[in-house]
């Protein structure tokens, strides 16, 4: 029996409740998480899909990619994994959560290589071991077709956690190359930290003032913030994650030190930044 092919599955159907916005749309270095994860997988695999809930199929960000729509009931990533195993039952799935900003090509290469080296000894899945608790990370793993049935049974029995499934059924566990490789980003604070780490920038203090609708949405008229965002554009991205501002960047202007500014201006320590919502004087 020859080795099964591997397809990629990017999980981007989560509700992002702690982030207060669609996590898949968070940007790092100018690119959405969804795009970053999709492109990462595509560098190693020919067939990559985005896992979506039925109500996300019209979302333009997701719809531009091949999608696998949830086809089984339930909540959480187990639904996406099962739906993929059902949609293409003859392939194994490299499953990646889109909210792992530190994943690298090396991590993916190693995962694929390890699966190859053990062949079918990987009965259900090959997964990285979390650097924090040593438990399998089911959302950076290769799920084998053989997992489809036991996973269905597990869910039918009331289970919903793919990690517990892997603990119970035994996955081949791999050591991640770097301790942070599998860190995921669930909150605005974690997002700020990840942005800082990825930009490898030194955080600086900025003074930010909010007016009108944005003052109400931020719940404050000003604050001093430590950020690694190097431009007003990056800062706005970070603040949208924190406060859920409803205005898109193209509706705003920005001022730095009380003068209109370009969105790509390099921010400096102590700069005073004001985002200017659509004006309505007179």
């Amino acid at each position: 029996m020859s080795k099964l092919r591997v397809y990629g599955l990017i999980l981007a159907g989560g509700l992002s409740t702690r982030m207060h916005r669609d996590k898949a749309a968070l940007k790092y270095q100018g690119k959405t998480q969804l795009d970053r994860a999709f492109e990462l997988a595509s560098r190693h695999l020919t067939n990559v899909f985005v896992s979506v809930r039925a109500d996300q199929t019209l979302d333009p960000m997701r719809a531009q990619r091949p999608m696998i729509v949830d086809s089984v009931a339930g909540d959480g990533p187990i639904v996406g994994i099962r739906s993929a195993l059902i949609a293409h039952p003859q392939v194994a799935w490299l499953v990646l959560a889109c909210d792992l900003p530190f994943l690298s090509d090396a991590v993916i290469e190693n995962l694929l290589r390890e699966r190859d080296s053990v062949g079918f000894a990987t009965r259900f899945a090959a997964a990285y071991k979390s650097a924090h608790d040593g438990l399998p990370e089911p959302l950076c793993a290769i799920w084998e077709p053989a997992a489809a049935k036991p996973l269905a049974d597990y869910q039918a029995g009331g289970g919903h956690c793919p990690r517990k499934f892997l603990i119970r059924h035994g996955a081949r566990l791999l050591e991640p190359q770097d301790a942070r490789a599998l860190d995921n980003v669930n909150t605005p604070e974690e997002y700020s930290q990840a942005l800082a780490a990825l930009d490898n920038a030194i955080p600086m203090q900025l003074k930010i003032q909010y007016y009108a609708l944005m003052r109400e949405q931020a719940g404050r008229s000003e604050e001093t913030l430590e950020t690694a965002a190097s431009t007003p554009a990056g800062l706005y991205e970070e603040l949208v994650a924190r406060y859920g501002f409803t205005l898109s960047r193209d509706q705003l202007k920005v001022a730095v030190n009380s003068e209109f500014s370009d969105w790509s201006r390099k921010l400096e320590e102590g700069d005073a930044v004001v985002f200017i919502p659509p004006v309505a004087g007179g």
Partner: protein, 176 residues
């Protein structure tokens, strides 16, 4: 500074006096008032706020542009901030010049530019109990900064340029 803010009612009389000069033969002013209806909603009051540090710079730039474009003697714009009731004056623009034509033109230019460029925001409170930031919520779909000419904001104020309007207050003093 030719562009100012005030939290108290605009004192148009003293503002008008600032524009007087012996060589001016005409004076045009515009007043923007809080109107009771905007886009079908009954408005009960408005709250204005501004990013004043930048607003006065941009307002002064607009007046400077107007003075370069039109040969007027003096121009002044005063904008109110805070909570305003119906018929309260939100903004006043005054221009004096040798002849009337350029005073009308400059006055119109200044109010149009102020509405589109100066960081001032208003929140409308409606009889329904609802409220909303003008141009930010109900009109959020269209980026305002790229929009040309008139915003719906203008509709919430009495338009002084329509001569038939009962509230018309374009004043032309000592016409020549």
């Amino acid at each position: 500074m030719n562009f100012r803010f005030t939290i108290s009612p605009i004192d148009t009389e003293s503002a008008r006096r600032e524009l007087q000069t012996l060589s001016a033969g005409g004076y045009v002013s515009f007043e923007g008032w809080v109107r009771d209806l905007n886009e079908g909603q009954e408005v009960t009051r408005l709250e204005y706020e501004a990013f004043q540090e930048l607003a006065v710079k941009e307002g002064d730039r607009i007046i400077g542009e107007a003075m370069r474009r039109f040969p007027v003697k003096h121009a002044l714009c005063i904008h109110r901030v805070g909570s305003l009731g119906l018929s309260d004056m939100a903004v006043w623009v005054g221009v004096s010049s040798v002849h009337r034509g350029e005073a009308f033109d400059a006055c119109r230019f200044i109010i149009d530019e102020v509405k589109h460029r100066v960081p001032i925001w208003k929140k409308e409170h409606y009889r329904s109990g609802d409220s909303g930031w003008v141009n930010c919520e109900r009109c959020a779909a269209a980026p305002l900064h790229s929009r040309a000419a008139h915003s719906p904001v203008e509709d919430s104020l009495v338009e002084q340029s329509h001569a038939e309007h009962p509230h018309d207050r374009i004043a032309l003093a000592n016409p020549k």
